[in-house]
Symmetry: C2
Subunit: 249 residues, 2 copies
Amino acid sequence: MQDSNQFAGRFLGVLGGMGPLAGATFVNRLVLLTPATSDQHHIPAILWNDPRVPGRPAAFLHQGEDPLPWMLNGIRHLEQAGAQAIAIPCNTAHLWFDAMQAHTRLPILHIVDAVIANLRDSGITDGRVGLLATGATLASQLYQTALTANGYECVVPESDEIERWCTAPIGLVKENRLDDAQEALTPGVAALHGRGVQAVILGCTELPLALPLARRTWDMPIVDSIDALARAAIAWYFDSSLAPYSPSN
Amino acid sequence: MQDSNQFAGRFLGVLGGMGPLAGATFVNRLVLLTPATSDQHHIPAILWNDPRVPGRPAAFLHQGEDPLPWMLNGIRHLEQAGAQAIAIPCNTAHLWFDAMQAHTRLPILHIVDAVIANLRDSGITDGRVGLLATGATLASQLYQTALTANGYECVVPESDEIERWCTAPIGLVKENRLDDAQEALTPGVAALHGRGVQAVILGCTELPLALPLARRTWDMPIVDSIDALARAAIAWYFDSSLAPYSPSN
């Protein structure tokens, strides 16, 4: 189904729900980071926020139901609704990036590319960088491979630390226990700081929810994968080198 | 197009974009107010966040383009995506409520009903209640009629106060100037408090964005139309008296 010309224009699709607070917060940050002086200057976006997608970390470890059909269901709905690019505010979901991209003609903005661009924009172009993420994202080397290829040295938590500094706060966010999550995450950021990193990447979209901007008091950048992806989406939206939207594209 | 059974289930449609930060914040509050212990316990929702809808207050005063075709375009997309009820986190949009409801078989949750239910749940069942909203919402008597019918006395700002306490902070929110918006709104809440109201209704969904929970320091309830509508949506989702979802419904 095609939109009439009256409603045509560039439209961002957001495959959210993984988790749902990260999906909602991504749209919130997208709005707040967009230069705008009225509603009509903001970015048209549609958020598919289906939280029933089976858990990504368990599935990656072959211990749970396959989330891919649920992700593709969301992408199909975003396509039908008229999205022209897709942002996925879930890092672990990017372990299925190639499979998702193979099923859609829409460009999917890669969250790791967005984080590395944000790191560079923060003035950090090489050296030691800390990473906190789900056990699955860490085990997959998703970030480590890309960081190494871009000249960084990636510092990750020890295996017993992943549970305390990553798995625990992520689970607490999904229970809406944001203060408890902050308490669990903070020692992890502090410890990586003590290990001489120049920045810490919050490489799971639940982690920024546990550490609001106002509480990031370290003298180093905290690279937030929600904000990084929102900045990439804004860059896509305002990229005048792309063909203007046409319903027949 | 029907979903396969695997993906069937109750799904909330959110007609947002009016403004975009209110749409995103509504989904955020929906998640945070839902009792849940994992992603999969949260409410499946789809947010149509198209901020290009022509300004509602101007259109109501016959000074601008008609927003209704844009609202119906959003509703049509939400229907196609599988929504089974619609929440609209914009009070002024409810001046077109009957026209929207006439165009869809899905129930639209009325924001004024949600606010009155929230007022009752706060223990306020009659007496003087303050209202801050757009000039159009105030002029339409949307809230005043419903409040009077429910036994309340509605206290609204004088005409010169509407600009300072409502129009100005709403415009500042749409520019992402939340601190400035708070500065403009606060004297309005304080003044209504001084006029002996038992509660103040933030009857425009931009206003709660200017007055975060932590800054509501008055000894009276502030009834927030975003949270009230989110609570109504949660009640709808968990209402076991409704027929279970079936794609053939």
